[in-house]
Symmetry: C2
């Protein structure tokens, strides 16, 4: 029979830090800290297995759970020397969620559980502090009513506010014991009135209700959304931690705080954190009061009072604990602690969330300190987050109209129109607008709005407030605690001194300084620092997949090389067709009435394409360049509306009728499945011949200049063996003609895109001709699912919302469906041609999960947009480290 309940306390723990899956992150951390001799209040963890059981059995618990809980509760009582429900010396507990992976603020917590009109007496007696006891009591009722009984938290809050107004005070802690006592009974009346039940007085009833509420909170909408955003499986479940209370609200030698063993924003190796005197934990996290810096190093203002100054011995013990824990966990840690009358208790340890920049610095520092090895250092850098490092920052030379300054909660920079709610953010961003979400403070309900905003600006909250933590996780720029802002959501305006910012006005955030500017400000792309390049170097040494870039211009090619792309995996020749006035020649080619006319127009394009190729070869010296022959249907090069056709007819000096007829004749009902790719090459061989000529001419020039080059010529949309057979023969013929006329003998490769299900199935045949395959997973996803990327918007949101699809298959490669077809293709291709070169060149080439799949499949390279190259390099290294044992 499963153990279900794991005790910890007084240096003994049933579990340990390795048991995250069973005990959740918090439970495992509490057990591990206890074993390490760190002071932790005694308690026990109810395992995630109970959560699973709870949901699988119609919200019932295992039969023997009650008994096991009772045994453990008694051990806690013994350890703490208190008694649950006792009127003399009552044990109070917190009941907290704790999943495998931290889901900050997503699930519920109840503190101070076990209080009633009897036990309050004991609390008063033991603490000798009536005000503290009633403050604790009212907190408990407020929290329990909301979390367990489902009462709207605003009701209690407004009563509290009313009381403060009545008493003419600003802060909760200015209320007296009798004020608070009054509130306790007022709150109980409200529960009776609103919920029709007496507030439960039995501590055991409170405890079981609290535990159930935490398990239930696994499935509240915001938690489901968070899991979806972070790809956390539904069936993991949460554990529940029941921990004896220690009180940060017992006076000025009490307090509570949050700390990081290193700076989570910059990665600097310095202890970093915030605390509040005379407060309980939720006050810090919720950002209701702006907290104080933990040490003098991180003071921002002269008036700040650090913990280092206020309680120096506590601070000393805290940094000792931090050292022990960091050396033990070998990672930057996020710690929660409470000080009860000068005694420090650790309440949580977990891996600290950090910015991409910090992740790089911390990983490298720890590697240099000998704490971790190279592989671990690379694994510590999340490929999805490092795009942050490539985000723009504010140009220091640009003119700025600073309107306010807050905390630099998440780095980067962003401009956008001001909106005041998550709903507005969503609505405006759907219209294609860039928005900055401005809130008093954010809460988990705001996540959907934050995810569509360019940046987040809050008036309250610190560097560890909800807004700050979430924005860093999302890689979005954020400024918090910008208290100069007077936000009037209803009127849709912000007042800052004498200025008024209205909804729709543009502001720019500088997440690295905390400055808010009016209007748009020039930005520059951040430079890659040495730390980053070092980690990239580690990753490059560890990965198996080569990372190439999709680049159509010499400029793109240069960016790609700067990011260490190892060649070009996809050069889309048609993109060159739009450059300058080339489109004119392209249109002449399309309008040609005969092969001869068409060839005439193509002759004009030839030198231009050749020049482009030569420039790209030059940027990519020594690396492979894969050039794809014309792919889109010809109608993409013609105008669509009558107006545009008329205009073009004038410019091209052809009749409207002729142009209109041509445009109509090329119109397709399903262009995605139309006359494109190699089908054009079969119908109009002269187009592909011109392109091959340009590729080979440029290669001959390049070679004659003393360079090595192996052009890779790629034929798109192949689905039938004869297509590649005919076109391979055409390419060979043309290439040989060019080389013969130039007296040069070059190696070149001819390959195909694999982007149709049929191509996957007959890959073995295609490989008879093709020397390489490049998976075009955009189109392969479209045809495998029968989804049009252009039209999917009408139902994809529904599909994601209802979990029909776990992720957008155009962002993260669908391993099950598309991946199965790729596997068939890889097997078929290798069977025919053992050393066939295999790559991917769709959008998925820059997505970490997709890259991992390509690694598992045994591809040779992934090609992605130039700015995603670093992401791809890290992801490829992760894939190799995780999968190659």
């Amino acid at each position: 029979m499963a153990q279900y309940v794991y005790f910890f306390g007084n240096k003994y723990a049933d579990g340990d830090g390795s048991m995250k899956n069973l005990l959740g992150g918090k439970g495992a951390g509490l057990a591990e800290m206890t074993k390490l001799g760190i002071r932790v209040p005694a308690g026990f963890t109810i395992t995630t297995e109970v959560c699973t059981y709870f949901y699988e059995h119609g919200r019932k618990y295992p039969e023997d759970l009650e008994n096991k809980l009772q045994v453990n509760l008694e051990t806690v009582e013994k350890t703490m020397g208190t008694k649950f429900g006792d009127a003399e010396n009552p044990l109070l507990v917190s009941v907290r969620s704790g999943a495998r992976i931290s889901m900050p603020g997503m699930m519920d917590t109840v503190l101070n559980l076990g209080l009633n009109d009897e036990t309050i007496k004991g609390l008063i007696k033991k603490s000798g502090n009536e005000r503290f006891a009633y403050d604790t009591y009212r907190r408990f009722i407020q929290m329990f009513s909301n979390v367990v009984l489902g009462l709207d938290s605003k009701i209690m809050e407004s009563i509290l506010e009313k009381k403060k107004k009545e008493k003419n005070v600003h802060n909760d802690n200015e209320l007296s014991a009798s004020d608070l006592k009054e509130l306790v009974y007022k709150f109980k009346d409200v529960v009776k009135e609103q919920k029709g039940i007496d507030f439960p007085d039995d501590p055991y009833k409170q405890l079981w209700m609290g535990i159930s509420a935490v398990f239930e909170s696994w499935n509240v909408p915001r938690a489901i959304t968070y899991r979806k955003l972070n790809h956390i499986p539904e069936d993991w479940g949460t554990a529940v931690n029941v921990v004896s209370m220690v009180y940060g609200n017992m006076g000025d030698n009490s307090g509570t705080g949050v700390a990081f063993t290193r700076n989570p924003s910059t990665g600097e190796n310095g202890f970093y954190g915030e605390y509040l005197i005379n407060a309980q934990g939720e006050d810090v996290v919720a950002g209701i009061r702006t907290p104080q810096p933990i040490n003098n190093m991180s003071k921002k203002n002269k008036s700040d009072v650090s913990l280092e100054d206020a309680l120096p011995s506590v601070y000393k013990e805290l940094i000792e604990y931090a050292k022990i824990l960091e050396n033990h966990y070998k990672d930057m840690l996020d710690l929660e602690f409470t000080i009860q009358e000068g005694i420090l208790y650790m309440l949580q340890v977990r891996s600290g969330k950090r910015t991409a920049k910090a992740s790089v610095k911390i990983a490298l520092d720890m590697y240099n300190e000998g704490l971790i090895d190279k592989k671990t250092a690379v694994l510590r850098v999340d490929p999805n987050s490092i795009v942050q490092l490539l985000y723009p920052s504010v140009d220091p030379k640009s003119k700025k109209d600073v309107i306010a300054k807050g905390l630099p909660a998440s780095p980067g920079a962003a401009s956008g129109e001001v909106v005041f709610s998550a709903e507005e953010a969503e609505a405006e961003s759907k219209k294609g607008k860039k928005v900055i979400l401005v809130r008093m403070e954010t809460s988990p309900e705001d996540i959907h709005g934050m995810s569509v905003s360019e940046g987040i600006l809050t008036a309250r909250g610190g560097m560890t407030s909800h807004a700050a933590v979430v924005a860093r996780g999302m890689g979005k720029c954020a400024i918090t605690g910008c208290s100069a802002l007077e936000i009037n959501e209803k009127k849709g305006e912000i007042i800052i001194g004498e200025r008024v910012i209205k909804k729709g006005d543009t502001v720019t955030l500088n997440g690295s300084t905390g400055e808010v500017y009016y209007g748009n400000v020039d930005m520059i792309r951040s430079e890659l620092n040495d730390d980053f390049l070092t980690i990239m170097g580690f990753a490059n040494g560890l990965k198996k997949l080569k990372i190439r870039a999709n680049a159509d211009t010499p400029e793109d090619a240069k960016v790609a090389r700067n990011y260490s792309a190892e060649g070009i995996g996809l050069c889309r020749t048609e993109h060159m067709f739009f450059k300058g006035d080339r489109i004119k020649a392209v249109r002449e080619m399309i309008l040609a009435d005969s092969k001869e006319e068409r060839e005439k127009a193509l002759r004009k394009l030839l030198p231009m394409q050749k020049g482009d190729f030569l420039d790209i070869y030059n940027e990519m010296k020594g690396y492979s360049v894969t050039i794809r022959l014309l792919d889109p249907p010809l109608h993409e090069f013609l105008p669509k509306t009558e107006e545009e056709i008329k205009e073009l007819a004038g410019i091209m000096n052809v009749s409207f009728d002729k142009l209109n007829t041509k445009a109509n004749s090329l119109h397709e009902i399903n262009p995605m499945l139309g006359h494109r790719g190699c089908r054009l090459g079969i119908s109009y061989p002269e187009i592909y011949e011109m392109q091959v000529e340009a590729i080979m001419e440029a290669a001959c020039d390049f070679y004659s200049q003393g360079n090595e080059i192996i052009p890779e010529i790629m034929i798109p949309v192949v689905g039938i063996y004869e297509e590649i057979r005919i076109l391979k023969a055409m390419v060979d013929k043309k290439a040989n003609e060019v080389m013969a006329s130039r007296g040069v003998k070059l190696n070149y490769l001819v390959g195909t895109m694999i982007e149709l299900p049929r191509a996957c199935v007959i890959a073995g045949d295609i490989a008879k001709e093709a020397e390489f395959f490049s998976f075009g997973t955009n189109d392969l996803t479209q045809t495998t699912f029968g989804f049009s990327r252009d039209d999917i918007g009408s139902f994809l949101p529904d599909y994601l919302e209802r979990n029909v699809l776990k992720t957008d298959p155009f962002i993260e490669l669908d391993r099950e469906g598309v991946g199965s077809l790729m596997k068939i293709a890889v097997e078929g291709g290798k069977k025919t041609r053992k050393d066939i070169k295999l790559g991917i060149c769709g959008e998925h080439g820059g997505d970490p999960s997709s890259i991992e799949f390509c690694h598992i499949l045994g591809l040779n390279y992934a090609s992605c947009s130039p700015f995603r190259v670093p992401v791809a390099i890290i992801a490829a290294a992760h894939a190799a480290i995780k999968n190659d044992k």
Copy 2:
């Protein structure tokens, strides 16, 4: 080393009738007849292996071929008592092609080879008939010049015509020996003049040139087209038959003819054929002179002179041979013979081409005669051709304006506009017009025009002329030998007595009587006769696949049952949406602003759909009915143009803007890959709920009336497991609600279309929910190839022309690509659900090759359009007979 050359003659043959692949049909037949003791001129066959060698080695022959040929030629000389190239007693030969499968008139033949100024003397001396000898000589030069030297045949023909005019005669055989001799030298001069070479006099040179010409003719365009139309592989090659000449042109006791052992048009068991006195074989086939009936039974006119009358003993021997051969081959045979001075020689035996009607009658008669078994009888009926039997015929009660009468060469009836050339036929039919091709006579060059015409009408030629044979093969109505027609192709008119029919005028052909009518005439669908029903019964007993029909209306269902469809495999509910003014309610549903409004509109549709289902259940008593839930995207139900939208807005009493906005919002760039099928079911569950309610309500009514019914509810476009899981649950819920409210408990099945590559790949998962799969191979072909059926016209003709594709994959299922995915789906589905019901319901369900593939795959049923049901039944029987050993 391969044998390459096979001798036959004097009752001995190296080969036999089973060796068609090696010797070709003609060679195998000659060998077999020789072995049976039938009089055949001696000769030898050069095998198809030589043809393959010839093309694989740059048109060179195997080294030892010359020697082998010489040895066999000497054996022929010995057998015939003549000598090749001899001036005294010369052996002349015919050189004829002969592929595995008859390709009538497609490849080349040279007769009378071996003649020169020396051997002519021997021919004169031996025959004692100078006129005959020079007629033979001029025929040889004429034929050799055209076939071997590539001279336009019209040049020689015009010289011949000129000579006839000059001599004031009508027929070739009225020219004298000296006229013919003159022509011989004239012809030789023309060759010298046109081709710049002396006409080759060396008989061996003639022979080798003739052999090469026949091998070359395997790859002339018309032969390639024919093979493409008939799916004959390129690499089969042809054999070459070198046979000693016998002469049908030696006078009035000589002749040549073609016969069928039974009537190829009706199947009647009577000897049937045509012959010409004093003529060589090509005169009959080419239809230059209208031949005479072979026996009195088949006389059409009093003036006809039958072979039975003219040469009774020859006729007697001929029917004896026919009897021997038919008993031997156990099939209706097509015979070619020549009579040389009263002696009968058989030149060819092969299975006779026949109409569908004849094939049924002959198969059944032979079964009744004990010649063949049931399986053979069914195999004798070509499923592709039996659609002929379902073709319309002229309504005997309708008014007719008979303008001419010819030979009823191919049955059925057809109306269309008159065109005069294959090119016109193609051009007009591309415009969507129905055309009747009118020609003096047809030739292989006309095939492309014949294939697009509704019917063929020729002024010359008999029942075995090119036009007749080809039309019967194509299952097209044809009238030949309609000599009343004066065709002026240039002026584009036909004069019939005093009437003038112009290009574009409509005529109707009655292929069963030979009557030509002016204008359109009412037609009726031909009744299925008892013979056909008997064969269908045999087929039904032999096949494994059940054959169902795609039917959306009670009327279609009735037709399907009449053709013995075993249920409905696809009932498209959306087709019902267009009936009457239902489209109004459908549009209200689409325009609804809320779920409530949408449900209101759906309530209107419910009773209509329910009524339709009940009517269909009634027609299909005792058989399964598979009903597919809504499939097309909603925009298909809305108008497209501004004009139409305006009109509809008025009718529906909504603003133009609203309607226009809705139409625009539903517009899709690739509707094939859009918001359709089960994606609608997920977005708008109320639509599917209404349909399920209608299906189950109708089923409950039907059950309450004392009938058994198992409705099969089919969900389209499934590609993701969650889609079918969610919708299966919805169907079950709704079905149970209906059954509960009616107090009825029915069995029903829920299944899916398998029409996306992803569905094939994850079929194992889908089968967890789906109780049946129905392959939608139209869409599966679109997505697998990345082809849009609507747009493929821009390149499919190119693809077929250039053999990129062997057949249109929308007509014949692509076994290699689409088929591989189907196989994956079948395996996946069966692994999860051993007894899963498997079917196909696309267009391919009516195509014989596709049906065979479904049989091989182990599907349970194929569903096709009602009129294809008999085709499918025969095809399914063929598949079972051929594949289940």
